[in-house]
Amino acid sequence: MVTLAIDLAFILEKFVLIAVIIVISLLVALYTTFGERKVAGYIQDRYGPNRAGPGGIFQPFADGIKLFMKEDVIPNSSNKFLFVLGPAVAMTMAMLTSAVIPWGREIELFGRTIPLQIADINIGILYVFGVVSMGVYGIMIGGWASNNKFSLLAALRGASQMISYELAMGLAIIALLMLTGSLSLKTIVEQQSTGWWNIFYQPLGFLIFLVCAFAECNRTPFDLPEAESELNQGYHQEYSSMKLGFYLFAEYVNMFISSALMATLYFGGYDIPFVNDAALTESIGTNLMALLQTISLFAKVGFFLFFFMWVRWTIPRFRYDQLMKLGWKSLIPLALFNMVITGLIVLIKENGWPF
């Protein structure tokens, strides 16, 4: 008989936390699809979906049911195993990043202090990068397994675009890390909640990060993998039913997670603006404070989600060579410049003006 030395309460606590975060991200992603259509309607001066429920509030569920009910076609000439694996990988990788984002400080429940973060690892940002670079595989596997020239071309487009913009994103983050001196997302948020938000120190870095986030999520103006005028439908051309739904859904989950990441890195994360968090915690208690902090984070995330949609319905799509030129010839030199300037300022701040 082998006995397992496991802290059962710890495992249970993490399981509940993971389940809650996954359900919340899926719900947010679900309603982002609805929000997207409403925002599109508003910008194009029409109503948007308004039939299912009051104001069209049940529209995402109707869409979901529709996707589930459709016939699930697996093309004969496709590689069946990889064809199913593609959307699964896309969805999994989209969800994985949420593990290191701090959604609030902590709550006290049943005499335990539970931090509202699944894992506070000391390489948080690098973990995010690792997962983001894995996201390419969902698109590539799906596109190749479809055995369709357009899908393959779109998949290659998507992959090369993501690899190119990852570089500029990484360089933008390095400048941020020079200031914070930590890779843990929790520490970065704590630093911001006692002082200024990082956006004031790193405006250029944030701009680069924002553009790269758009490119990583395959959103307009960088949605070249889905350029229907050139590639029919893109890498998910052969997909139908919920497999297609997974691809579309993964995009919205990615949007949600990258919004949360931008809020965490540059906009103070769960910090409530203009409020002394420690003093407020004293007066209203830890749990209520955690709730307020989570609401604050979600308000910031909501703004970024709206920004994603706003850009989508305002700016037309780039041409592919313009996209590559922007990534390699503008953003990377700009990010390098930002990095050098930041390094100089950090050095001068630590050692004084040498001249």
Binding site: L126, F129, L152, A159, S160, L183
Partner: protein
């Protein structure tokens, strides 16, 4: 048997199994995907040894960047199991002998390595953490570190020159 041991055996079986898949599967795309799984298993081992930085960099660089390029090339060449040329019988024989020799040398070299008595530090130890690694790289090993970055630069220039050739 504690969690670390269970994880160790799971990762070991996964690593060996998937690396066997790399060389036995007929479809080159499956080979690349198995190699990615192998990298994941190895990263898991690094995490067990508390080398978090190494683990995640292994994933970013190898599984995230290099393997994507491999997959690119293989997908564009459209290699299928049917079109793969049958290898010469003698070539296979020579390969087995060469591999066996390499295994012998490895066993002989590792048999007397002084790491035999040392036990691996799991879930503790500071060596693999990023703060420690950064200090060591930029103090003790700064010259080799910079030389290797020059090497990367020259490789990059070489790639550009090759790409520019008409």
């Amino acid at each position: 048997m504690n969690i670390t041991q269970i994880l160790f055996w799971f990762l070991t079986v996964l690593a060996i199994g998937s690396s066997l898949m790399v060389i036995t599967s007929r479809n080159p795309v499956y080979s690349v995907l198995s190699l990615i799984v192998t990298f994941f298993a190895l990263s898991g081992h690094y995490i067990l040894l508390n080398a978090q930085f190494l683990a995640i960099v292994n994933l970013i660089v190898y599984a995230g960047a290099i393997m994507v390029l491999f997959l690119f090339v293989i997908m564009l060449m459209n290699l299928n199991a049917e079109t793969e040329p049958q290898k010469n019988k003698w070539l296979r024989f020579a390969g087995i002998i060469a591999g066996g020799c390499f295994l012998l040398v490895m066993v002989a070299a590792l048999r007397d390595a002084d790491s035999r008595a040392a036990t691996a530090m799991t879930t503790y130890g500071e060596t693999g953490l990023i703060q420690h690694l950064g200090k060591v790289l930029f103090n003790e090993y700064v010259v080799p570190f910079e030389i290797s970055s020059v090497l990367f630069l020259s490789a990059m220039v070489g790639a550009v020159v090759l790409g520019k050739k008409e």
